[in-house]
Amino acid sequence: MGRLLVQEVARTPGCAVGGGTGRPGSAIIGRDVAEGAGMAVTADGEALFAACDVVIDFSVASVAAESAALAARHGVPLVLGTSGIGTEDQAAIAAAGSRTAIVQPVNTSLGMNVVFALVKRAAAALGTDYDIEILGQQHRKKVDAPSGATLALARAAAAGREVDLGQVEQRGRRGAIGPRPAGAIGMATVSGGDLSVIHTVFFAGTGERLELTHRGTSRAIYTRGAVVAARWALGRPPGLYSMADVLGLA
């Protein structure tokens, strides 16, 4: 993801790569961040934050809190795209968000975030006469299910209905499952091949259904969204923001 981000920043008009860091001890330290950029990869986060207008961190959850602290200290906006951040670290990130702008997206794809907003809106507008089902289609190498996007779509639907997802979700149907409970939000996963990643939310009513689909065919959609978020965050007041804020969908 880091290399894709460097490429994305380098090809975005109005943006320049301000530097890049790697894990201390990694073989990448000392190499060029980008070909011809004249900047070496360092392990020095402090120098990176001092040199940049905005920083993007898509690395690992264990450094997220440290990145947020550096962002706060230097007053530099941060786009924090790692998932799996623990409660304690998340509290530290929220604290840093009171001193600088931090965008923390669940998913940086512009299209997927548009779909999140559509799902929330449709769930709010349509009553429980419309059964909500979410189908994730993923490539065979993905090791967990439902996907993070499937769960985020389910949360968006539950938020639209103003219910707690834990109370209404249905996963893994098998055997004598009986009639579908009213108001349930179902999730199912198809896995195979090198399929592009496809998520569909069904609102199945009587005599009609609405389907909202996102198809991802390239990982570039995530890096593009990260750079959009970075540009948006520049000059924002301190706060913890989502992609919905970035896109004006909140």
Partner: protein
């Protein structure tokens, strides 16, 4: 809530009678037919395929409006002024879903809306109206990097193309982009079409089988695409939406409303 159906003997009229009878919180207040029609004097519910009631198909709508909280008109454009006037006189909510009104007929509906609540929409389907709103919203958020295409599939007997819903989706997409559909639409592709023009809104029409209507709006970008699809499996969605509109309109202040108002999407 008492709901009356004008033109209760037509295809949509009979479906509306069934829908109102089936709705737990609604009571059917009666139905009318065209003067001279053999339906006049028959039982309103029986002619709709239900158990008989004590309601008789009338040829004048005045008594129907007097007996109703709301009246649904999916009949014919020529009857629109008379029904609108009666709704205004009796302070009855009116749901009007007839398309093809001329300027005078439309003027009559709007005049009535000055005195009572009128919901007017050419598609009463809840799903289609929500789709219009979502399409406009997405078109407003995503720029020209996302190409907009609209695909429809209808039963083999549908005689016009694109469908009214496809055109409405195209207008919603154009409105979201702040553009005019006439300037952006590509209705046909055949032969050496060349590269796709930036910002175009394309239409593709499929015909076959017995589908009551499927529409998909595609926003195709680099590396991803969003699709908003609506699939109808029954014409009942139009009557279901009309009854929802009637339920919503009763007690509302005078005004001209759309299905978007009914859905809280305006």
């Amino acid at each position: 809530m008492k709901i009356g159906i004008v033109g209760c003997g037509g295809t949509m009229g009979r479906l509306l009678v069934q829908e109102v009878v089936a709705a737990e919180d609604c009571a059917l207040s009666g139905g009318t037919g065209r003067p001279g029609s053999p339906l006049i004097g028959r039982d309103v519910t029986e002619q709709a395929g239900l158990k008989p009631s004590d309601l008789i198909v009338a040829d004048d709508a005045e008594a129907l409006f007097q007996a109703s909280d709301a009246v649904i008109d999916l009949s014919v454009a020529s009857a629109a002024p008379r029904h609108a006037e009666l709704a205004a006189i009796h302070g009855v909510a009116l749901v009007h879903g007839t398309s093809g009104l001329d300027a005078a007929q439309q003027g009559a509906v709007e005049a009535a809306a000055g005195r009572t609540a009128v919901v007017q929409s050419s598609s009463m389907s809840i799903g289609v109206n929500l789709m219009l709103e979502l399409t406009e919203q997405v078109a407003g958020v995503l720029d020209d990097d996302y190409d907009i295409e609209i695909v429809e599939l209808f039963h083999r007997n549908k005689a016009d193309a694109p469908s009214g819903t496809s055109l409405a989706l195209g207008r919603a997409a154009a409105a979201g982009r702040g553009g005019d559909l006439d300037a952006l639409a590509i209705y046909e592709r055949d032969g050496e079409i060349g590269p796709r023009p930036d910002g175009a809104i394309g239409f593709a029409v499929l015909r076959g089988g017995d589908s009551p209507g499927e529409h998909t709006v595609i926003f195709a970008g680099a590396g991803e695409r969003i699709e908003i699809a609506h699939k109808a499996s029954s014409r009942a969605i139009y009557t279901l939406g009309a009854v929802a509109a009637a339920r919503w309109a009763v007690g509302k202040p005078a005004g001209l409303y759309s299905m978007r108002d009914v859905l809280g999407l305006a």
